[in-house]
């Protein structure tokens, strides 16, 4: 949609970000999220940006929306009265989880409760085997009897998850038909539609999560659509999904679980778009806000997707402490490291930071709102990275004295003064993030050397330079609009939908006709969803298979070209797998059979084309009018950093570190090891000063 007027809206935990784009211009605003009626903040923000742009809401052509509401409903357990119907003998799958403890040394460990208590999980006698054959047929009369028994419970939403239904959904569909007849008005979610993949715990849990938030999200989306219309914005509304694309409001209401993590997905799309503008193929996207940091690898300007992720981690963001949601999702790591993350000293006399966060109330000690424990922002202030008089455009005055007191107390048992404690705190949080990035890179078989970091989110520009030093990343981009990156990302996302199916096939028993039919069926399903959003755009379908050596437990994704999908043959599949396996793990394993476990087709319209960056003119060597004492952790000493306002930089202007480039929303720290150049798109491009 060239020259269309589009509105991007991201509802986050604290702020609702609204971005309006019209021919050549962009206006954004952050308004406080209105929990009781989230649509209020959107309407408010929409009017404000329309006023800035001098247009009326009626002129908006399209609205793209992403939200944490679905995630929050799962975390806070604010979903509908929901039931699960499952195969007899398997009532407790979502409660028994993996039968393991995510923390090995805690004798008092508590596992998170399942979304539904046991008395809201019902069973029916039926069974399908691992080939999809019916071992025990489902008796319709028993379904009718169960539906009648369930009537008194007044369920609003019912999830149906039967064993091996990803291979044969007939029994799940029969249950839906009976429920529609006997319990009209109750919403139904089938596991064979929400997440048709093998592994019952993940599939059932995802289906239950979908059912649990469906009434809430359906009603919210309906209200939003009519409120927008009432306010004059009677245009199509689309939703960002966790896989980095957009879907229709109707699809979103049917499969709301796909909206989980839509905000961070928007951030990754934002970074991918900047990567395209700069023609960069290896990007480390780094998004650091108040509570968490998100790290994502973007190769060839496409964020990598995964099939499972974990939401609502209940124990220090620890892997395994949340619940698995198996839907297409942009693959990223999220750790409890943000500006508000709090520090303490443990029994090993080590400084630990996060995941506990001071939030906005009371906030870090320097906010002067009663917080007494040191947060990352306190360390940033004491290290000279922040200007106490000019934080958040001067809207919050920071109290350096309070930070120093909190840090002095932190350092007391370590014989560290406030500055050293601040240094230690900042190094620990930066190291935590660097370790998360390293592990994520290894899991993806990547070496971060040769990567460029793109940093956004309020706290990222303060820490990104140091993170690059730790990771050996030599180039860092801090784009404009970094504070509303996710909402901008929504406007760059294509319409897309990924359809997946679990079907086992060994290459030694490769059946080309079955493969072709399967990929065609998946392509039709995925394309159908996208076609609902855009009647005319050309839609590309990308096929992917997940493969492994027979006997292994972890698959790797292997992409197929259109021709390889249309004319599948085992030798080609083997060659593709071996090439990818070697890239990841260094060597192939000879003599082993190879198998395919999951098939996926992603249908997508073209992404917004990025205009390549014009050549950067030769600019000035800028020196600040003032300097501030800044602690440089790589040098482990205080340096005098020049202060340069970002607004005063013209394309081509260069600033040599140590420096602080300031703006209302944040400050970009240029370490002594780096220099910055202002690019024509307003980005700050920071590179290593070669020795």
């Amino acid at each position: 949609m060239q020259h269309a007027i589009r509105l991007g809206v991201d509802i986050g935990g604290t702020f609702t970000d609204v971005v309006l784009e019209l021919a050549g211009a962009s206006h954004s605003i952050k308004v406080l999220t209105t929990y009781a009626a989230p649509e209020d903040a959107i309407i408010d923000g929409m009017h404000q940006v329309c006023a800035k742009a001098g247009i009326s809401p009626a002129q908006i052509d399209q609205i793209i929306h992403g939200t944490t509401l679905a995630t929050n409903a799962l975390i806070e357990r604010r979903g509908a009265r929901t039931a699960l119907i499952t195969t007899q003998g398997f009532r407790d799958v979502i409660e028994m989880r993996t039968e393991s403890r995510f923390e090995q040394y805690d004798l008092n460990l508590q596992l998170p409760d399942p979304l539904l208590p046991r008395q809201h999980r019902f069973t029916l006698l039926e069974r399908v085997d691992a080939q999809g054959a019916v071992l025990i047929p489902l008796d319709r009369e028993e379904v009718v009897a169960l539906a009648e028994d369930m009537a008194s419970y007044n369920f609003e939403s019912i999830a149906v998850g039967l064993l091996h239904s990803y291979l044969n959904p007939a029994h799940e569909r029969m249950i839906r038909d009976v429920l529609a007849e006997r319990l009209p008005g109750v919403m139904v979610s089938l596991s064979s539609e929400v997440s048709p993949q093998m592994r019952e715990y993940e599939r059932f849990n995802t289906t239950v999560a979908n059912a649990y938030i469906k009434p809430l999200m359906k009603s919210y989306l309906g209200r939003l659509k009519s409120r927008l219309a009432d306010e004059g914005a009677d245009c199509p509304v689309f939703l960002m999904h966790s896989g980095g694309g957009i879907i229709s409001l109707e699809s979103a209401a049917e499969f709301p679980v796909r909206l989980v993590e839509s905000g961070p997905a928007g951030g990754a799309v934002f970074a991918a778009h900047i990567a395209a503008r700069y023609g960069l193929d290896k990007i480390l996207s780094f998004d650091m806000g108040g509570t968490t940091a998100k790290i994502c690898l973007i190769k060839n300007q496409t964020p990598k997707t995964a099939r499972v992720f974990e939401v609502a981690r209940s124990y220090r963001f620890k892997k395994g402490s949340g619940m698995p949601i198996s839907i297409p999702v942009i693959d990223m790591v999220e750790i409890g490291a943000g500006g508000g993350s709090l520090a303490h000293v443990d029994s090993l006399r080590q400084i630990r930071v996060g995941p506990e966060s001071a939030g906005s109330e009371p906030g870090p000690a320097c906010y002067g709102r009663g917080g007494s424990r040191p947060a990352v922002t306190d360390a940033d202030l004491v290290l000279g990275r922040l200007d106490p008089e000019n934080f958040a455009g001067g809207s919050i005055r920071l109290h350096a004295g309070a930070s120093e007191a909190a840090l002095t107390e932190l350092g007391a048992s370590l014989q560290m003064d406030a500055l050293t404690a601040a240094y230690g705190l900042a190094e620990v949080v930066d190291e935590n993030m660097a370790n998360a990035a390293r592990v994520h890179a290894v899991e993806n078989g990547e070496d971060l050397a040769g990567y460029t970091m793109i940093a956004f989110g309020g706290a990222a520009p303060l820490h990104a330079g140091r993170l690059c030093e730790k990771l050996g990343v030599t180039r860092l981009l801090v784009p404009t609009g970094a504070g509303v990156g996710s909402a901008i990302g929504f406007l760059r996302a294509p319409f897309s939908f990924e359809a997946t199916r679990s079907v086992y096939m060994k290459l030694s028993a490769f059946d080309a006709a079955t493969v072709r039919d399967l990929l065609v069926a998946l392509a039709e399903e995925a394309t159908g969803f996208v076609r609902n959003c855009d009647a005319s755009a050309s839609i590309a379908a990308q096929s992917k298979v997940y493969m492994r050596y027979t006997g292994q437990g972890w698959e790797i994704p292997v992409s197929l070209s259109a021709d390889q999908a249309a004319n599948p043959d085992a030798a080609t599949f083997q060659a593709l797998f071996e090439a990818d396996y070697t890239a990841l793990f260094g060597r192939t394993v000879t003599g082993m059979d190879i198998e395919i476990t999951v098939w996926a087709v992603n249908a997508t319209t073209a992404s917004a084309t990025a205009t390549p960056l014009p050549a950067t003119p030769t600019g000035r060597m800028v020196t600040g009018h003032a300097t501030r004492a800044l602690f440089d952790p790589a040098l482990a000493q205080i340096v005098q950093a020049q202060i340069v306002p970002r607004a005063g930089l013209a394309p081509g202007d260069t600033v040599t570190g140590p420096a602080l480039i300031t703006e209302d929303e944040t400050t970009t720290v240029i370490p002594a090891s780096r220099r910055a150049i202002a690019r024509p798109d307003g980005s700050i491009d920071i590179t290593e000063i070669s020795a």
């Binding site: 799958v93 004798l107 460990l109 809201h120 019952e200 050293t420 899991e443 292994q552 482990a636």
Partner: protein
């Protein structure tokens, strides 16, 4: 080296071993490694002292890994170590307790200097012999034994060794694939270590080793010093194979160490359920660390103050050539017996007894007609954990093992087996102020047209978990065919076509008197069906009216 830099490097080393472990999970073939997390990875200084170990599913490797590298240094000889060397063993006494575990050690060189070691362990699919089970009478029947030797000389893999291994195991490709996976994960650790030394401008690990070990020793000793100087004994009787086994322990807390001795424990068994001392040490130490110093990472200094001894020839210090393949069954029971002693010294700290060992079984399937595809299916399952001093026990959750179960749908793809039931077992958690964790029911049988041998690896059939401080015992393990045919808790047993094995996996025991339980929790348990109406009235004193009220609430869809 500044304090801040040292803190950063310690974190980094822990992150490096986690990466090392992750690389192993991604490339391994055996289900116990890739699905269940039965592996370890660690980094050591040049002297062979362990600096960091990945937290994986196996406390059983805790000390074994710390002890293994010094054995390698002694056997290989420091002077002969070259860059590119890789060493290997599956010796139960110098590795991690049975032949199925291969330990691989790689000396780490930086700028031509030897700076440390990386080591890792994984459970492989097969080592020949009689196959994985308790049936051997000596170690010689359990499979091939590889003493500590070179897997690679200065980068060149020993093809003779590979051929010998290939010729002696049932799944040569997978086993050799796993050995390469082990070597690869050490290489990954090594690369990261070199990056770290370069980044911090260091020549070796000496300074950081000192920092880690000094801090860990001090923190551990502070914890021990805070304990009462006291001693206590504990004992527990379990099923064993044919004859019951007594596990006996005495704990003595001194100013700077804890001595944990197993004198009085039964002698070695004829069957392969014996435990090398290194594995006993691991689980005893794990139990003590959980209770006393849970957040101090495992390394040479933090483990040293926990001193575990047992008479040679006892079942927890089995010596060569005793059979040891299923050493996990008794190994997993060790924390419960250590806790029975520790409870007398540190009241209100440790849980009641639980299911203890994992409730694993292996099914060997073949067509009833005798012709066609055969398959081996191994599954990991858990009973209930013991109730804690202020919280209920965990339902169907492994303790002390930390491994995961396999999805039923994935298991059914590995062979013609049908798991007909896998769900919580009501009334199996011991009653108490805090209820024991529920065990689970399982029903498993061959698919139509197949018959099977079922290799059982269960305990607590005759000796259920005992309650603590007035809590009731957990339910015992039950096992039988669906036609009523009797089955044993351990050993290989025939399952005809069309039959199912009916299992009741054991519950954890309760903590404190049931009379003290919060009535709201009793009603919650009844509403959820964790306890039956009968048990609610019998064990917890609910009236028939109470039960009716809860049931009415349930059918109205109300949750308490």
């Amino acid at each position: 080296m500044s304090n801040v830099a040292s803190q950063v490097m310690w974190n980094r080393l822990i992150s490096i071993v986690e990466e090392q472990a992750q690389a192993l999970v991604r490339t391994a073939f055996s289900t116990s490694v890739r699905e269940a997390g039965d592996l370890s990875a660690g980094v050591y200084d040049a002297a062979g002292l362990m600096l960091a170990q990945a937290v994986t599913g196996t406390p059983g490797h805790v000390n074994a890994m710390a002890d293994a590298v010094p054995h390698f240094i002694r056997r290989i000889g420091r002077a002969t170590m070259r860059e590119g060397d890789v060493y290997i063993t599956n010796d139960p006494w110098e590795g991690t307790g049975h032949l199925h575990d291969f330990t691989v050690v790689t000396p780490s060189f930086y700028q031509g200097r030897h700076v440390g070691f990386f080591a890792c362990t994984a459970h492989v699919v097969d080592v020949g012999g009689r196959g994985f089970g308790a049936d051997a009478a000596s170690i010689y029947e359990e499979g091939i034994h590889i003493p500590i030797m070179r897997f690679a000389h200065a980068g060149r893999v020993d093809e003779t060794l590979i051929e010998i291994i290939r010729g002696n195991v049932r799944e040569p490709d997978q086993v050799v694939g796993d050995l390469y996976a082990l070597a690869t994960c050490n290489e990954i650790g090594q690369r990261r270590l070199a990056d770290m030394l370069a980044e911090f401008g260091l020549d070796d690990l000496d300074g950081i080793s000192d920092f880690i070990l000094t801090n860990s020793r001090r923190a551990t000793l502070e914890r021990i010093a805070a304990l009462p100087r006291d001693s206590a004994t504990g004992a527990m009787r379990i099923d064993g194979f044919d004859v019951p086994i007594d596990l006996c322990v005495s704990l003595q807390i001194e100013a700077d160490r804890i001595i944990c001795d197993f004198t009085g424990t039964s002698g070695v068994d004829k069957k392969g359920i014996n435990v090398p001392l290194v594995y006993t040490k691991a689980y005893a130490c794990y139990a003590l660390k959980c209770a006393i110093a849970p957040e101090i990472p495992n390394n040479a200094a933090s483990l040293a103050p926990f001193q575990v001894t047992a008479p040679a020839g006892s079942i927890v210090n089995a010596v060569h050539p005793a059979p040891v393949a299923l050493r996990h069954i008794i190994g997993h029971m060790i924390p419960d017996v250590v806790f029975s002693a520790l409870d007398k010294i540190l009241p209100a700290t440790v849980p009641a007894e639980g299911a203890g060992c994992l409730c694993n079984f292996q099914v060997s399937l073949r067509p009833a007609s005798g012709q066609g595809r055969r398959a081996e299916v191994l599954t990991f399952n858990s009973g209930g954990a013991g109730a804690r001093p202020a919280v209920d026990g965990l339902n169907a959750t492994a303790f002390p093992s930390g491994v995961m179960t396999m999805p039923v749908e994935a298991t059914e793809h590995t062979g013609p087996v049908i798991i007909w039931r896998k769900e919580l077992r009501p009334d199996s958690g011991g009653a108490g102020q805090y209820r024991g964790g529920l065990g689970q029911y399982m029903e498993v049988g061959p698919a139509a047209g197949f018959e099977a041998d079922f290799s059982a690896m269960f305990d607590r059939v005759h000796h259920p978990a005992r309650g603590r401080q007035g809590g009731a015992d957990g339910a015992a393990t039950t096992i039988a065919l669906d036609d009523g045919g009797a089955m044993q808790g351990k050993g290989k047993q025939f399952v005809p076509a069309g039959r199912r094995v009916m299992l009741g996996l054991p519950g954890g025991a309760g903590y404190g008197p049931a009379a003290d339980r919060d009535p709201a929790l009793i009603k919650r348990d009844l509403a959820r069906g964790y306890i039956s109406a009968k048990a609610a009235m019998r064990d917890y004193g609910l009236t028939a009216a109470d039960v009716a009220a809860v049931e009415a609430q349930v059918t109205k869809g109300e949750t308490a």
